[in-house]
Amino acid sequence: MFEAISNNPYRNLRAPRVGLRRLRPALPALIFLFVFMVVPLSSLLLLSVTKPETGLGNYISLLGDATYARVLLNTFIIAALVTLVTLVIAYPVAWLLAILPSRVSQIFFAIILLSMWTNLLARTYGWMVLLQRTGVINRALMGVGLIDQPLPLINNLAGVTIGMTYIMLPYVILPLHATISGIDPAIMQAAAITGAKPRQIFWHVMLPLSLPGIGAGCMMVFVMALGYYVTPALLGGTSNMMLAEMIAQQVQSLLNWGLGSAAAFILLAVTLVFYAIYVRAIGLGRVR
């Protein structure tokens, strides 16, 4: 019926209006983002090469100074560790969710959503209380006699890893679940009937076929973890400070704007590089 409409008398209705006229509705949003994002970011970039003096001094001291370089290294190590731990937990969970009867998996998804949508500070507060020296976890472990002394679980690497893994898990479980559910069971049956043992089917067929989900999930977690601020600040210790915390500290407490913004741009550059790899790997169409 609408095909007929596109015919003669109303043809002009269908003709694409070329040119920027159709861009006009996007202008308010465009201007807003320009003023409140592009301009501030650009002036930050400017700050990083002008304060305290003009030049690349800030970048040089960031990459040259051992303390700062350590923070950078720490950031990568923690992000990689969190990504790895998250993946190792998320894969079997996503697998289980793909094969459970949907009534059971629905409950699991509700739990995932609940944890994902609960206020970040509320969740982090929960871990702060749980992990502290006199916290429930330490008391329970001592109660069953596994340990004599409370374990240091907070303000160190363990605390950050637990807290961040908790936050990142849904971001890996969900894409992985989609990928694993998409695998045709007949392909796995085909592998079985040709003589492959379950272990061989897993390594040669199932895991390669879940790689897109693994890649998407891990990249997302890694990039998010690189720039994470709140959880490392509350659960981490001073000896394994991450980049975001250092940036905040330099800008807010030490008023060292130049150095802070230089660090921010290193973080931004790293993020964008990984993001570009991610986009190239899975295609822009699927990012949204």
Binding site: D184, I187, Q189, A190, A192, I193, T194, G195, K197
Partner: protein, 365 residues
């Protein structure tokens, strides 16, 4: 094949899914080197039977023996059976060669041995030039040929094929049918083949098992099924057929006389003795009917009116209507019999071509 022990022996197989009996007491034997086809409409239990043989489903009751030994406790990967599925099941992340080599790779064969076998197999299915391609770069027919190569590369004695050609168009299907037959002859592998295309079944198989509602309605060669169908269902399922209703006047061994609804008495054959006055269905193949002008005298005939003639190239197909308005299809290459619609004609046929069945509930046309 009755002389030697069967390679596959399926005994009283039953499979329930909840309250549905997908397979309902199926028994059959498959001889070494035989090409046996499961033919039946959708949902009749063909795939389920095949999957039980493969080991993907456990039967509710019954047994599957291969070489005289029950295989129910043997895992699919240890049964040494080949299988080609209806859907494309090539491993999308592997090349054609890696796909075909996969069964040998998991058997830890040496690389040289794998390469040699893969090449042999790809030549067998005429895809030697495609070794380096990914499955996504192949047509549907090529993918199924690779799947066939993958299923044969480890030299299984039994090959299961579940509607492997269902997704292909007619021309391609016929090409690959020939290829499968050639491979069957060359390798002597035993094939259990599933289809719901009767032409395909007739063309390829040594024997056909006709499935209906989880049971085997009849098993036999194509000629058996066509010439001597066990019941009206098989008669209707294999080939084209005309059915008429009537009741038995007299029955003597395999000879039976049936009175049609208008009073005409027709003689035919039956496989089972029939009681007098039993309601029966008569079946006559369209090509076993002949048409003649109505004043001709023939031994067994029916008065009809021509309603339509279709030109089929090698044949003519006539639609005729009986006095009680039943349509009957006639196929003939007798161009002389051509006549114009509305003419009165006599339909004549030999009593040996009339098959008489009890009017069971399962009968469909």
């Amino acid at each position: 094949m009755s002389a030697q022990a069967p390679l596959v022996n399926i005994r009283n197989l039953v499979k329930h899914f909840g309250s549905v009996a997908a397979v309902d007491d199926v028994s059959l034997q498959v001889g070494e080197g035989e090409f046996l086809t499961f033919l039946g409409s959708s949902g009749s239990g063909k795939t389920t039977t095949l999957f039980i043989v493969a080991g993907f489903e456990d039967p509710t009751a019954g047994d599957v023996e291969i070489d005289g030994r029950s295989v129910l406790s043997v895992k699919p990967n240890e049964r040494n059976i080949g299988m080609v599925f209806q859907r494309y099941t090539l491993f999308p992340h592997m090349t054609v060669a890696q796909n075909v080599g996969f069964p040998l790779m998991v058997r830890r064969r040496s690389k040289a041995e794998i390469d040699k076998a893969v090449k042999e197999m790809l030549d067998l299915v005429q895809l030697g030039a495609y070794a380096g391609r990914k499955p996504s770069e192949l047509s549907g027919g090529q993918q199924q040929r690779v799947a066939l190569a993958r299923a044969l590369v480890y030299k299984p004695r039994i090959l299961l094929m579940d509607e492997p050609l269902a997704a292909l168009d007619k021309r391609l299907r016929e090409d690959i049918q020939q290829e499968i037959r050639r491979i069957h002859r060359e390798l002597g592998v035993t094939i259990l083949y599933v289809t719901h295309d009767q032409e395909e079944a007739l063309r390829m198989s040594d024997r056909i098992a006709v499935f209906s509602h989880g049971k085997i309605a009849q098993i036999g060669s194509g000629a058996d099924l066509y010439e001597r169908p066990a019941d009206a269902f098989v008669a209707g399922f294999i080939g084209n057929s005309n059915f008429l209703q009537g009741s038995v006047v007299q029955s003597q061994q395999d000879q039976v006389a049936v009175r049609l609804d208008d009073g005409t008495v027709i003689r035919g054959n039956t496989r089972h003795p029939l009681a007098a006055n039993a309601r029966v269905r008569l079946m006559i193949r369209p090509e076993r009917l002949a048409l003649a002008p109505s004043n001709d005298q023939v031994d067994q005939s029916l008065d009809v009116t021509l309603s339509d003639t279709t030109y089929l190239g090698d044949m003519l197909q006539h639609e005729v209507v009986t006095a009680w308005q039943q349509r009957i299809t006639v196929r003939t290459n007798d161009r002389a019999a051509a006549s114009s619609a509305g003419n009165a004609l006599k339909l004549h046929f030999a009593s040996t071509d009339v098959m008489v069945f009890e009017d069971g509930n399962r009968a469909t046309a």
